[in-house]
Amino acid sequence: MTHHELVKYSRGARWFHWTITIAALVLAVTGLFLYVPAFSSIAEGGITRVIHRVAAVIFVAAPLLFFLAKPGRSLHFVKEIFTWGKDDLAWLKAAPDYYFGGDEKKMPPQGDMNTGQKLWAVVAFFSALGFVFTGIFMWFLKDTLPAEVFDWMVIVHDLCFIVGGAMLLVHLYLGAIHPRMTESLKSMIKGKVSAEYAQSHHGKWYKEITAGEGDAKGTPGGQGEKQAH
């Protein structure tokens, strides 16, 4: 076994990930104060509504800035999360056993993003669009909107929260807690995964980036840098 590490996430991708994660968590918590009556006393001064708006600006600005900085990579990412095929069906079949601790050899080799990660990205993508669209109306057009339309904006905002929030819980769990995802959190902090982890969790990706290197060793800053995102 090699002890090399492979670059999984670039510095820019990690900054983007953590910026939007923190913004999303702040938005979720400050939003919950209005959603859950038991917490609502915290929102009484109205300060949580100001914090919610500040976080919302960051939540919108982060992807825009990332897109301006790396338009090609951004588009590639969006294209990748919306590209679904029969490999994804195989993942879906194998996933329940795999995630409940079954034999990992039964899981077909995955690319740099597996089907579950793509699914999460798609849900996050659409719920973010829903949040931003309805949020803009709720923030700036409250006085101009008919009451009925405003109510529906709130309902869609809440729906995005239920779907996106539930998936965020799953994402946090799989990224940081699940016993099998030993290097997931580390890779998003430091950017690298061990070759062993890459082989067992992202076999297809490992093969791609180590192709042509003879002994199948990945080197940080090598081909992995170009293909990882």
């Binding site: 009556p37 009484e44 109205g46 919610h52 708006r53 601790g101 309902i155 539930a166 819980l169």
Partner: protein
């Protein structure tokens, strides 16, 4: 106050309507208020604790009479709602509300609801014609009653005021569904953790 000039029998009529909180029994504002800053007082009216207001303005949209108003900054979202508070300090000290006290011709009266309904009905009978008592049945009974002798449209009062279905959907269905979904997901993840860890430990021991 709202001042409506309407034509009536070829003549002009001036209708004055007190345009403040109607203190509904089925109150949209009470239903949507996240902090319960708007609530039903034991006496039946819709009381309001301004300190608890977050300024979300959901009550503004939920009110069938378009009564609550939001004062504050649109940009930061810091705001406070304003509406008639039924002179809570006065009525709980045995005094009538200020509007009743100050109304020069005595067009406003205040008392136990049953007595007011009886008085309104007597006045309606006296006026005859199209006169009716507004607020007796609307939204399970308002705590502000009007004797109206023109059409509700002329008085600019909603014919069948109701808490909008979207408010009901949002408060009575979506919120519980949200708790349910989060509960199921959290429970599922916990179960997954315990099962996955146990099986992985077992697999390791088996090697």
């Amino acid at each position: 106050m709202r001042f409506n000039e309407v034509e009536s029998d070829g003549d002009l009529a001036w209708l004055f309507t007190r345009r403040a909180c109607m203190h509904c029994t089925e109150a949209g504002c009470v239903k949507v208020c996240p902090t319960k800053a708007v609530f039903h007082h034991d006496l039946g009216f819709v009381a309001y604790d301004k300190d608890k207001c977050t300024g979300c303005g959901y009550c503004v949209e939920a009110c069938p009479f378009d009564v609550p108003r939001l004062d504050g900054s649109r940009l930061t979202g810091k705001a406070k709602m304003n509406k008639c508070i039924f002179c809570i300090d006065r009525v709980t000290s045995g005094l009538e509300p200020a509007c009743v006290k100050t109304c020069p011709p005595g067009a406003l009266d205040f008392g136990e609801r049953d007595a007011m309904v009886a008085k309104g009905q007597a006045r309606v009978a006296e006026l005859g014609g199209d006169a009716r008592l507004y607020g007796e049945e609307e939204l399970d009974g308002l705590h502000v009653l009007y004797v109206v002798n023109h059409s509700l449209k002329d008085h600019k009062l909603p014919v069948n005021p109701e808490v909008s279905p979207s408010v009901t959907l949002w408060q009575d269905i979506l919120q519980p569904v949200g708790y349910g979904v989060v509960g199921v997901v959290a429970g599922g993840l916990l179960l997954n953790y315990m099962v996955a860890r146990a099986r992985m430990v077992k697999a390791k021991e088996g090697k």
